[in-house]
Amino acid sequence: MHVTPEIDAAGDPRPSGPRPGIDHDFNVAYITRVEGEGSLRLRVRDGGVVEARLSIFEAPRYFEQLVIGRTPDEVIDIVSRICGICPVAYQMSAVHGFEDLFEIEVDPEIRALRRLLYCGEWIQSHALHIYLLHAPDFLGYPSAIAMAADHKPIVAQGLAIKKVGNQILSTLGGRAIHPISVRVGGFSKVPTAAALAPLREALDGAVDAAMETVRMVAGFEVPEYHREPNLVSLVHPTEYPYNHGRIVSSDGVDLPVDRWDDAFEEIQVEGTNALQARTHDGGVYLLGPAARLTLSPGTLHPLAAEALAETGLGDVIRTNIYWSIAARAIELLHACAEARDIIDGYHRPAEPRVKWTARPGRAAWATEAPRGLLFHRYELDDRGRIAGAQIVPPTSQNQAAIEADLAAFAPSVLDLPHEEATLRLEQLIRSYDPCISCATHFLDLRVERPT
């Protein structure tokens, strides 16, 4: 939320400094335990929030220009470099868009392998966030390092789960970070069933550990908070949303997966290097685990659905963003269990990919990155090369919701000591698992730590 300098009843600007005991300023120059470079500024005057701003000062990265003139397969390699945590999501949104434009039908086993690849990404990303970035907030530690000293088994469990996600990415994608096997029409190479067998064994342990994770986070003490957000995610009738479905919102949007821009748009906002996104009428919306769980409860893996029911958190996950850690844990369990099922039913396809012919037109698709809906749109010219591109990552879409939550939540912490209040506000931001690097597609990293 951005508000112009407040004006008093006489029309004169109020003094800019806070009045002790009445006004509050919260400034976090460098938000920690998030991916990327951002800061928080919150100003409260007379008990009301006049400014809530999550500033993203990480430099722009220009990926939408880097892909101009490239072929579809080159684009898949390039966009995966936008993020070291969710490269699969970038590959998937791009590859499905191209395949839709070229009218390519992939083998069902290829489709299953892509879901398995996505499971691997969710596993490593969710495990990293739950255990190393977010859990310290709930267990009362300033960092994962301090937490590890007292809770070594917890950290070890998180690392063990994350390792399984890395294994899946390495096996299917050729390497754990920025995998290189995804191609238009399939994969450059597909694994044998024997190559997947070690994953199957590891996933048994990961499923058990993910169940433990759900039980652990369900026991966390979470700040009281309630806001009814407009939720947006893919929804599919028979499968938990990764690569397919329709774009659905809790306030009635229901669009084909390639028509994100029929309901939403990107806007430039002062003070941030990331474009933000709104509905066409300016509305703010929430993406990510809480949105997916709320809009697609019926397609969760039975183990995850059962675990969610046992927590009794289904309703508060929707309205209290601090419970996103529980939503993330449920999805972690879902991803581990579904990955195991996919391997159990795997039959190696005869060909790793189908042949295709490029054509001009609009290639667009959305998939579900760990942090939420990721939309890509490309214009292809007569040579089948990229003439225009738009990449809308989840964090830039969530940024307005983060600011709305900050504004709504801040009044409840004004009676707390300043440090504790600031920590609660940082914790709120971390609840979104923001990936600031994704939001800016930064090219040159020139931020230096203040001396």
Binding site: D77, R81, L443, L445, T451
Partner: protein
């Protein structure tokens, strides 16, 4: 544009077969196709053939695009580690060697340290690894200041000019690490 591949072995993240006999692990970070981010890869590629055989025989080399906790957690007790990476926060082309055991304190004290784009800052990775392993990590971080990390770019001229010195710094760190590891096994 096709991704550049290099001859170094990839990180066996997720693999369980770690060679326990090597006294030194060299972790080579960065991407060859992101400008100065490929400095460590270039330096090590030109360094290995000239290393003394006795040093090569006790070394394990891993390429890890982004440093991961697993690369530190599965270090055998008697193995020392050298991490080579390009960084920002240093003048371009400047080389720094920092003992791994000092990185967490530098991070915690917010001293000017090389910043890198790993998911967790390197100081935190080292600190968590030390806590999980119940012992300090032996070895050092050898960084080189970079300026241009653009996708599809080659090494910048200042970094190219500093590569010989960077190779020397990495070699010195490897020799020290091997000596440390040898002392620990005696």
């Amino acid at each position: 544009m096709y991704l550049l591949r290099d001859a170094l072995p990839g990180s066996p993240r997720g693999a369980t077969n770690v060679n326990p006999t090597r006294a030194v692990r060299l972790l080579v970070c960065g991407s060859a196709d992101r400008g100065d981010d490929g400095a460590a890869l270039s330096a090590v590629a030109g360094l290995l053939a000239g290393l003394p055989p006795h040093l090569l025989s006790v070394m394990e080399v891993r390429r890890c695009e982004q440093l991961d906790l697993e690369d530190l957690l599965d270090l055998p007790d008697t193995t020392a580690c050298v991490i080579a990476d390009a960084v920002i926060g240093l003048p371009v082309g400047q080389i720094v060697t920092i003992p791994l055991s000092e990185l967490p304190d530098r991070d915690a004290a917010a001293l000017p340290i090389p910043r890198s784009s790993h998911v967790l800052p390197i100081g935190q990775l080292v600190a968590i690894a030390q806590v999980m392993r119940d012992r300090p990590l032996e070895g050092s971080f050898v960084g080189i200041g970079g300026r241009s990390f653009g996708f599809g770019r080659a090494l910048g001229r200042p970094v190219r000019a500093a590569l010989p010195a960077y190779r020397c710094a990495i070699e010195a760190a490897l020799i020290n690490a091997a000596a440390t590891a040898e002392q620990r096994t005696l």
